[in-house]
């Protein structure tokens, strides 16, 4: 006995590497940015000292630190959410937004940004009245609008999940919600002035930089709650690897587990989208990277690994997007795909196991 002792948990070594890598990425992302600040000065600011230039304190504390924290939380959250969705739907292409959470958030933001203009152009008096009302809430932050949109879709999906028996049906209905929301967004875009459309597309490009310390008070607890659910669902997720029926035959209350998984994933996806825009790619890619590295399907390993890797991945992507030393920043989603795709293609093609990752 004892031969299989190591099964089912992240080894100390792996955990050390992941944490070390994450810490390094975190420090690097504080170190590099459009303004050059020496490492020693950054440490001075972080430990509460006075830097040589007063502006540096602001750059580090008001800009880089919240941005790094946001990136870590979003990367971790979306990776955990993606892993949960992939297992729940037994689909390697599933991502945190598969049930339309980000489409809902987009619709919320689109309504606020472009609603009044589009309503007028359409010439529907009722629609004009409705959207003008929303447009008038200009001071309402984008985050609130996105939260409302994401929350609405989330509530619909969760209430459905308690009624619908088949996970596949739920997936299809979720996809339909997504299409519907996207269609409405397209309609708004079609009838809006170019500058508003551009503002919307800027939001769609994603950014970790927009979260203020006061917004953190909402953002951090929500993401931590979602991560808590994700880590706590490792056992049911393992059972679900065999499909709903086997999971039920082993004593899992499938409906309840599904509800918890969807709630966790939607919280994470919703919070990320609300505060940072739709961040693609991390959620679908990082779980696959974890599977490849650790060569397991066990969520006791995959979940913590995805959380840590996702956080590091998002930090690195953001660092590249900032183009250290220059004043230009690239759209985050563009960077994720441009730099992330080759890495992931390499990892996955090397292993050739993506198709076999789930029960059919």
């Amino acid at each position: 006995m004892g031969k299989f002792e190591k099964e089912g948990k992240l080894s100390g070594w792996a955990l050390g590497w992941l944490l070390g890598g994450l810490a390094l990425a975190f420090l690097l992302s504080l170190r590099f940015g459009s303004v050059e600040i020496p490492t020693s000065q950054i440490l001075t600011v972080l430990t509460g000292g006075e830097p040589e230039k007063a502006a540096w304190a602001d750059v580090v504390l008001k800009f880089r630190l919240p941005k790094a924290i946001t990136a870590m939380l979003v990367g971790a959250g979306l990776s955990a959410a993606g892993l949960m969705m992939q297992t729940l739907f037994r689909n390697p292409l599933a991502d945190p937004f598969i049930l339309g959470v980000s489409s809902g958030a987009s619709l919320g933001v689109a309504l606020v940004m472009m609603g009044s203009g589009a309503g007028a152009a359409l010439g529907f008096s009722a629609a004009t009245g409705f959207t003008a009302g929303l447009g008038a809430l200009g001071d309402l932050s984008l985050a609130a609008a996105a939260s409302a949109g994401a929350g609405a879709v989330l509530a619909l999906v969760l209430s459905l999940s308690r009624r619908v028996n088949s996970t596949l049906t739920l997936l299809i209905v979720g996809l339909m919600f997504g299409y519907l929301a996207n269609a409405l967004v397209s309609l708004l875009v079609y009838f809006s002035q170019p500058e508003r459309v551009q503002a919307f597309s800027l939001w769609s490009a994603g950014s970790f930089g927009g979260v203020t310390w006061s917004q953190m008070r909402v953002f951090v607890p929500v993401v931590l709650a979602g991560l808590g659910i994700a880590l706590g669902m490792a056992k049911p997720l393992n059972a679900l690897l065999l499909g709903d029926e086997y999971a039920a035959s082993m004593g899992l209350n499938v409906k309840r587990a599904r509800f918890a998984i969807l709630a966790g994933a939607s919280l994470l996806a919703g919070a990320a989208t609300a505060f940072c825009g739709p961040i693609w790619f991390v959620g679908v890619a990082v779980p696959h990277i974890s599977r490849s590295i650790f060569n397991t399907a066990d969520h006791h390993v995959l979940m913590p690994a995805s959380v840590l890797l996702g956080a590091a991945f998002a930090l690195l992507a953001d660092m590249i997007a900032q183009m250290p030393g220059s004043q230009t920043t690239l759209p985050l989603n563009v960077v994720m795909s441009l730099f992330g795709v080759p890495v992931i293609m390499w990892i996955i093609l090397r292993q050739r196991q993506i198709s076999g990752a789930f029960a059919r």
Binding site: K235, E245, S355
Partner: protein, 338 residues
């Protein structure tokens, strides 16, 4: 295995009606007892899987009730049920990146705590289950690399890791070749005997079921249910009745299916070499001849000669034609022409 529950492993149903909206089977009274291997057989679409699912508690009965050790199943909590009853389903499970051990260990689900951490005792149970099903040496292999037979063993080990008193398997032999099927059935019968669990399985393999099962449950396509000792059901014609259809017939004497071909006449077959005669018999039957051991009036006479040669004569001693052949193929070719 679950020695403590040895006596109480029984699954019973009374007045059971199963189906989805409309009942497929009605008024069933069944009992599956400890230490017993029962095969559920019947033609496709007769409701085997539906009955199995109902007995497993995965489908609600339309009428009547299913009892596990005397307790109404619908009142047993899912986790408790999973400790007493395990299933192996037909669907082929494809999971990459999971070791055979990891798959079998999932069977400990109803016993582990909220986090699913395996204790030393859990590991012991998993290893024993894998040893019992002969797949312990596969433990570190990835499920993806396993053959169908190996995978099925691991799935059964997973079910055994639940330490169930009752084990239900839906078509466990479906994807396996003949030697693997025999091996699996032997294994299951051994398990029933050794562990005192009650095992029910559906199969299309009537031949094997007849040899291995302690009892058979028969469902006809009309929804009629019969049960009994295999040999008895063969003897009283129940099996023949259930499987009767165009072109297929259950042979009482041999306990196997026979494919009926349009008759081409009768053959008198003789010879000393028993094995050669047996296979010649089959070949001739397949061609549509009615083969007899002694029949001087048969249209064709075939003899197996020494040294695996064959002689055939058509049309009697006088005026008929005869020939000798070095192989069965030549014989059949010649008979086919005539």
């Amino acid at each position: 295995m679950s020695a403590g529950r040895r006596e109480g492993n029984r699954l019973e149903a009374s007045g059971l009606g199963v189906g989805y909206q409309q009942p497929i089977l009605k008024g069933l009274n069944l009992a599956l007892r400890a230490g017993e291997l029962v095969c559920l057989i019947g033609p496709n679409g007769a409701g085997k899987t539906t009955l199995m699912r109902t007995l497993a508690g995965m489908l609600k009965p339309l009428e009547g009730e299913v009892c596990l050790n005397g307790e109404n199943m619908s009142r047993i909590k899912p986790l408790e049920l999973a400790r007493r009853l395990a299933v192996v389903l037909t669907e082929r499970v494809e999971i990459g990146n999971l070791s055979a051990y990891g798959l079998a260990a999932l069977g400990r689900y109803p016993y582990t705590g909220w986090h699913g951490k395996l204790t030393a005792k859990d590991r012991q149970v998993v290893e024993r289950a894998m040893a019992q099903t002969g797949c312990l040496e596969l433990a570190e292999r990835s499920v993806r690399e396993l053959s169908d037979g190996e995978r099925q063993k691991v799935m059964i080990a997973r079910a055994l890791a639940q330490q169930p008193g009752v084990l239900l398997l839906d078509e466990p032999t479906a994807f396996l070749d003949l030697p693997r099927r025999v091996e699996l059935m032997r294994l299951l019968r051994g398990l029933a005997r050794e562990t005192g669990s009650a095992i029910l399985l559906t199969t299309h393999d009537l031949d094997l079921a007849l040899r291995v099962a302690d009892r058979l449950w028969l469902i006809s396509s009309g929804g009629e249910f019969r049960e009994g000792i295999s040999e008895e059901l063969a003897l009283n014609g129940a099996i023949e009745e259930v499987f009767r259809s165009e072109g297929v017939r259950f042979d009482h004497e041999r306990g196997a299916f026979q494919v009926n071909f349009p008759a081409r006449g009768s053959v008198w077959l003789g010879g000393e070499d028993g094995i050669a005669v047996a296979w010649t018999w089959r070949a001739l039957e397949r061609m549509g001849f009615e083969v007899r051991e002694y029949d001087p009036r048969a249209e064709v006479e075939v003899r197996v000669l020494a040294g695996r040669r064959w002689m055939a004569r058509v049309g009697g001693e006088v005026g008929g034609r005869a020939a000798e052949f070095g192989s069965l193929g030549e014989l059949l070719g010649w008979l086919g022409e005539g």
